[in-house]
């Protein structure tokens, strides 16, 4: 592994409250304070004038289909897509094959990851057996196998008793429970936000209520059990208000949203384009605006990619029959930057908080900082570069990305994990 001497980059690091031009040195996978005093130490010198360095991005919700091989998203392909998007740490949801609901499968998946993943690969273990919401999975054993959180995502446990017991039990192991809040009886035929758009298109509605009722459930459960629950992929203004209220009362709730909910609204689904069928659905402008404000005031802690790859033939079908979810890892940062550039002060610093520092804290992983002695997970970005995203050219094995064909501003040029170059813009 080469030692690195990174010159003249604008370095952004919330952990050390750094936001300015400086030089960095990396030796033996780690950042060091300054150049080594050993005379024979050799450095690869990179002049990064005009470029920005951020700590590596940390994703709290991405989905992978297979552990290895096949034509569906696997650990290798998701890892490459992540590197291209600047993500150096992934928390993968348990609906991978095999399901991460037992220690044997988890060890197998982690073994596959150690061979195939260039990024830090972590699993969230299932809350219930096969994420079916019927009986608790062996949460203690999952913890021993290395999971960092417990969740049934993309499902939400419908049975309140099981959910409560799961949260209570997981909190004993200091594991956060992640919930993508969705009350199913109010949204089971819902393929779109129930606005006038869905009404005129004849699509079944997935109302804000279906999310908000379960947001309130998590708040109440967290309050009574004093347990940490992380709400994933928040999409509605009402949810933001509930979370804000809960945080003001000191309840241990954290929350995230996705790049698509920050950039797009349900107007996009006119024409029945299934690549805008997200999970949860795209909502209205007032929701989108509320999510942006919630990030700025800290009500929402972080942005997850919500990366949900689906094969082409499954997505290219009737809108109501197509699965919900979009790919996102390699467009996440650029899409948000493009959307918020010029509207938010200190945007690179905020992005580092939302996409790296804050999510790392939630899963208690100290891999998102640029300080002496830290493992060198970082990315080099050209914030001014404009490019057209082409989903079929993605490293992801799926191309169901809502930003396909869009002009984006800001491009990841290099991604390093532990001081090693894992992605370089071609």
């Amino acid at each position: 592994m080469k030692n690195l001497y990174l010159k003249n980059a604008h370095v952004v690091d919330p952990a050390s409250k750094t936001d300015g031009v400086k030089d960095l040195w990396v030796e033996d996978s780690k950042f060091v304070r300054t150049k080594s005093e050993k005379v024979d130490t050799e450095y690869e010198v990179l002049d990064l004038t005009g470029k920005t360095i951020l700590p590596g991005l940390v994703d709290l919700r991405c989905h992978v289909r297979n552990a290895v091989g096949g034509s569906q998203e696997n650990i290798k392909s998701v890892s490459q897509a992540a590197c291209a998007g600047g993500f150096t740490t992934l928390l993968v949801m348990p609906n991978i094959s095999p399901s991460a609901d037992n220690p044997g499968s988890i060890r197998y998946i982690n073994e596959c990851a150690s061979k195939n993943a260039a990024v830090n690969f972590y699993l969230a273990g299932a809350l219930t057996d096969n994420m079916e919401g019927r009986s608790l999975s062996p949460i203690g054993s999952l913890k021993e196998s290395g999971v960092l959180a417990i969740t049934d995502c993309p499902q939400s446990t419908q049975n309140n008793e099981i959910f409560v017991k799961g949260v209570e039990y997981a909190s004993m192991f200091d594991l956060p429970v992640i919930d993508l809040p969705r009350e199913l009886s109010l949204s089971k035929n819902g393929s779109a936000h129930d606005s006038v758009v869905a009404l005129s298109m004849g699509l079944g509605g997935y109302p804000r209520m279906a999310e908000e009722i379960f947001v309130q459930r998590s708040i109440t459960v967290s309050k009574y059990l004093d347990a940490h629950i992380h709400l994933s992929s928040i999409s509605s203004k009402g949810s933001v208000e509930l979370i804000n209220d809960a945080k003001n009362k000191g309840i241990k709730i954290t929350a995230d949203t996705t790049p698509h909910h920050l950039c797009l609204t349900d107007e996009k689904i006119r024409g029945y384009h299934t690549n805008f069928k997200t999970h949860p659905p795209l909502r209205e402008e007032e929701d989108r605006e509320s999510l942006v404000s919630a990030l700025l005031d800290g009500t929402i802690d972080n942005i997850c990619s919500g990366h949900e790859p689906h094969q082409d033939h499954l997505k290219k079908t009737e809108y109501d029959l197509a699965p919900a979810g979009v790919t996102s890892l390699d467009t996440c940062l650029s899409a948000i930057y493009t959307q918020l550039c010029g509207k938010v002060k200190n945007l690179p610093y905020k992005l580092a908080e939302w996409l790296s520092y804050n999510p790392a804290k939630i899963i208690k992983k100290d891999r998102a900082n640029i300080q002496h002695g830290s493992l060198a997970d970082f990315i080099v970005i050209d914030l001014n570069e404009e490019w057209i995203y082409s989903a079929p050219d993605s490293f992801s094995l799926s191309s169901n990305n809502p930003f396909d064909g869009c002009k984006l501003t800001s491009m990841i040029e290099r991604t390093y994990v532990g001081g090693e170059l894992v992605y370089k813009k071609s």
Partner: protein
């Protein structure tokens, strides 16, 4: 022909004028015209339908086209073939137009993007049923003259109704005022944003109506939570003989069928002189002839 939302007044009038010509020819009992001789029309019906399918078949045959009807039970759709693959196969078989009925909203648009064959929407889920709305408008114009400033009341299950949506778009383009009436669970306020007047007061909306269109209560689509019972629905929202007395003398009653006699409409009213229900069926043939003709011969796609 995917829906009335995207058609403009001129396009709608063109179809209606041509329908009138075809209707005159039909009433003279002329032999089938040779307009579509040699054309192959495929009826792809993936949801049960009798009258729409038959009306399209008769319309196609009246223009001397060849018609192949594929119903979901007899096709490969039940074997798990995707709509895309079915469409590609039908295209390979040399269809000049596909008439599709499907439970998924937007599926005709999906087909039209998949294959370069004219697609005619014969009902897609709760989205649109343009040929039905056109025959409704045609029938109303025959009876009421211009629809400009006429009050049309559509009564019943609006939420799940493609007929209601297509009529709402079409009628407003013809200048009519549309009132949607029914229980709040089936007539959500959101329809106001589409230009309609939403009401839950049947008496008030009947008295000013020039035409009342009743929609079938579709047991198969509604979960039990939309209204407590058919009995209560009929009592509060059914078109009874007493309520029909509120109607203007010359007001007409329409229904796209099939009728649930005694549920949304009293049986005798369905057969009364105000009822144009059977004329709708006859007009449906002429309107569908016009649609088939324009879609398969005209250079414009719509």
């Amino acid at each position: 022909m995917l829906g009335l939302e995207e058609l403009d007044v001129n396009e709608i009038n063109l179809i209606l004028e041509l329908s009138k010509e075809f209707k005159e020819n039909l009433s003279k009992k002329q032999k089938p015209s040779k307009n579509l001789e040699g054309k192959r029309i495929v009826n792809l019906f993936m949801e049960p339908s009798t009258r729409t399918r038959v009306a399209f078949e008769i319309a196609a045959k009246s223009l001397s086209a060849d018609v192949i009807s594929i119903a979901s039970k007899s096709s490969s759709l039940t074997k798990g073939e995707s709509l895309k693959d079915t469409a590609l196969n039908i295209q390979a078989l040399g269809a000049d137009a596909i008439v599709i009925r499907h439970s998924s909203p937007g599926s005709p648009l999906f087909l039209s993007k998949t294959i370069p064959v004219p697609i005619i929407n014969a009902g897609d889920g709760s989205h649109e049923h343009p040929s039905q709305a056109l025959l409704d408008i045609f029938t109303m114009q025959e009876k009421l003259g211009t629809l400009h400033n006429k009050n049309i009341t559509i009564l019943g299950d609006i939420l799940f109704s493609r007929v209601a949506r297509s009529n709402l778009w079409g009628l407003q383009k013809m200048g009519a005022n549309v009132t949607l009436v029914g229980p709040s669970t089936l007539v959500p306020k959101g329809f106001e944003k589409m230009g309609a007047i939403v009401s839950h007061d049947i008496e008030k909306s009947l008295s000013k109506a020039d035409a009342v269109m009743l929609l079938r209560i579709q047991h198969e689509r509604q979960s039990s939570s939309h209204f407590p019972s058919l009995e209560e629905y009929t009592r509060i929202f059914g078109l009874s003989i007493e309520r029909s007395a509120l109607l203007k003398k010359e007001a007409i009653i329409l229904h796209p069928g099939p009728i649930n006699r005694g549920v949304e409409i009293d049986s005798t009213l369905a057969d009364s002189k105000n009822s144009v229900i059977l004329e709708q069926v006859t007009n449906g043939i002429a309107v569908r002839m016009a649609i088939l003709y324009l879609c398969t011969t005209n250079s414009t796609r719509k």
